[in-house]
Amino acid sequence: MKILVTVKRVIDYNVQVRVKADGSGVEKENVKMSMNPPDENAVEEALRIKEAGKADEIIILSIGEEKCQETIRTALAMGADRGILIKASDDVEPLAVSKIVSKVVETEQPGLILMGKQAIDDDSNQTAQMTSALLGWPQATFASKIEIEGNIGTVTREIDEGLERIKVNIPFIASCDLRLNEPRYASLPNIMKAKKKPIDIKSAEELGVDVSRRVEHIKISEPPTRQKGVMVADVAELVQKLKYEAKVI
């Protein structure tokens, strides 16, 4: 079985994002970029499934600018086998991403697709669900545990009320939660090895997918900022303030 894992290049989660003064977007110049965090969990899970002898090959797919190759290389250094880059602008919407993934699935025929449940840049949380609907494969979203036995996946999902377990047939698509696993670090020898692993590069046009945006960003603005409040000396003062000043208790 092949596993297809999608990875997105995003502003590193530790970077304090700055909104541009002209409202056109956020500052991306000279900002550290990394793999979207839940995508790392997706890569790690694929590696574990392969290490358990339940998959033979892990293919990493990224969509975006030339530089997404770095993100693919990161996944290859973790242990994935080969990469595919579909060149497009860096703001392809989930709708077009799901169409591209579906096209890649036609050629690659994986048994399992793993994605991060949400990208930490646009926070859409859509791509896995859309891809599932397009392919007609079952979806197992927000996964915090994935067990594969033969042709069946048992997935624990993180839902607002707690946890839910579902059973799905292979092929299926899972979107990964941060709690799924602890992603490994790439070792130096593996980083060296990853440089020789193949990355196949195509464009979205070659796949026949229209990536033009349906949703226009009219303005990106700073959220209202909170004023720093006061420090209190002790618990007694805190309770007095909450009772008589803020009147919330």
């Binding site: 502003i11 709708l95 646009d122 669900q129 599932s132 609907a133 009320e161 047939n169 949703v215």
Partner: protein, 317 residues
């Protein structure tokens, strides 16, 4: 054209997220219909029809909808989609699971997690964990939207049309089998709608020590929350998590204890009316957004707070 709201419920009760979403829909138009899919849902369907702004409730009562399997819900929405300009669901794990499927099948982009409505095609939504707000305008004629519940008030339980229509639709087998659900039972208010939330972080150091948080929560009739660090460390279960990938809360009072204030956590609570931070590290970023900060060891501060709240309660009695 009318607007369709997909109701979230547990077959027994309507989730308040549905009532927030109906309110959001009312800002887009006056004909609001609500779709209720579930098992033994006559009562809640009738109940929803009594809420403000609701022109009609459409429901299907079938075991296929007992567990909100997205693959089963999607074809029903699609079969009804034609007559609506907007299709809305709450941006909860329920709505997030279903709506992108509907959007892609209609070949439209979904607008996720809106916090404000500018016009019938222009919305405001947080991006980058709420560190920026995007004003977005969609070109699609049919709009598929998820609504951040805490950004819209619930609608009143009056003024609805009372009209309820039962429909039927055969749906194919989905290939998804529900096994079970493990819900945390609690007598406390629900985290996402509580007036007061007391949250603990890694500073609590153990699941055992979370007792200190629940003691304060009991005295304030508050919900309990947690940072991702506390959930990952196994102190409490995932449904307590407040933040970018957990719940977004907007209580009147949010008390953050032993939480340093990572960007991902702030994304889930920084809209709270009053924020209190208790942390022994005076440099902790949480203090930058707190209305009241207390630099203290939580293992001393929480018992002291408990005593002070007792005093207050005894004065009031």
């Amino acid at each position: 054209m009318s607007i369709l709201v997909i109701a979230e419920h547990n077959n027994i009760e309507i989730k308040s997220s549905t009532l927030n979403t109906i309110n959001a829909a009312s800002k887009l138009g006056s004909e609001i219909e609500v779709l209720v899919l579930g098992s033994n849902i006559d009562n809640i369907s009738k109940e929803i029809s009594s809420y403000q702004h609701v022109s009609k409730v459409i429901f299907i009562d079938s075991e296929k909808f007992e567990n909100a399997i997205a693959e089963n819900i999607e074809p029903v929405i699609l079969s009804l989609a034609e007559k609506y300009s907007h299709i809305l669901a709450p941006a909860t794990t329920f709505g997030k699971n279903v709506m992108p499927r509907v959007a892609v099948k209609l070949d439209v982009a979904q607008i996720s997690d809106i916090v404000n409505i500018e016009s019938e095609d222009t919305f405001i939504r947080p991006i980058y964990a709420g560190n920026a707000l995007a004003t977005v305008k969609t070109k699609d004629t049919k709009k598929v939207i998820t609504v951040r519940p805490t950004s819209f008030d619930v609608v009143a339980k009056e003024g609805g049309s009372g009209i309820v229509e039962q429909i039927n639709l055969d749906i194919a087998e989905s290939g998804v089998e529900f096994i079970d659900r493990e819900e945390s039972k609690s007598d406390r208010p629900e985290l996402s709608t509580a007036r007061i939330v007391v949250s603990g972080g890694r500073g609590l150091q153990s699941a055992e020590n979370f007792k200190l948080i629940s003691d304060i929560a009991d005295k304030l009739n508050a919900a309990i929350g947690a940072s991702r660090a506390a959930v990952d460390a196994g102190y409490v279960s995932n449904d307590y998590q407040v933040g970018q990938t957990g719940k977004v809360v907007v209580p009147d009072l949010y008390i953050a204890v032993g939480i340093s204030g990572a960007i991902q956590h702030l994304a889930g609570m920084k809209e709270s009316k009053i924020i209190v931070a208790i942390n022994k590290d005076e440099e902790a970023p949480i203090f930058n957004i707190a209305d009241y900060g207390l630099t203290a060891d939580l293992f001393e501060a929480l018992p002291a707070l408990s005593t002070e709240l007792d005093k207050l309660n005894s004065i009031e009695k």
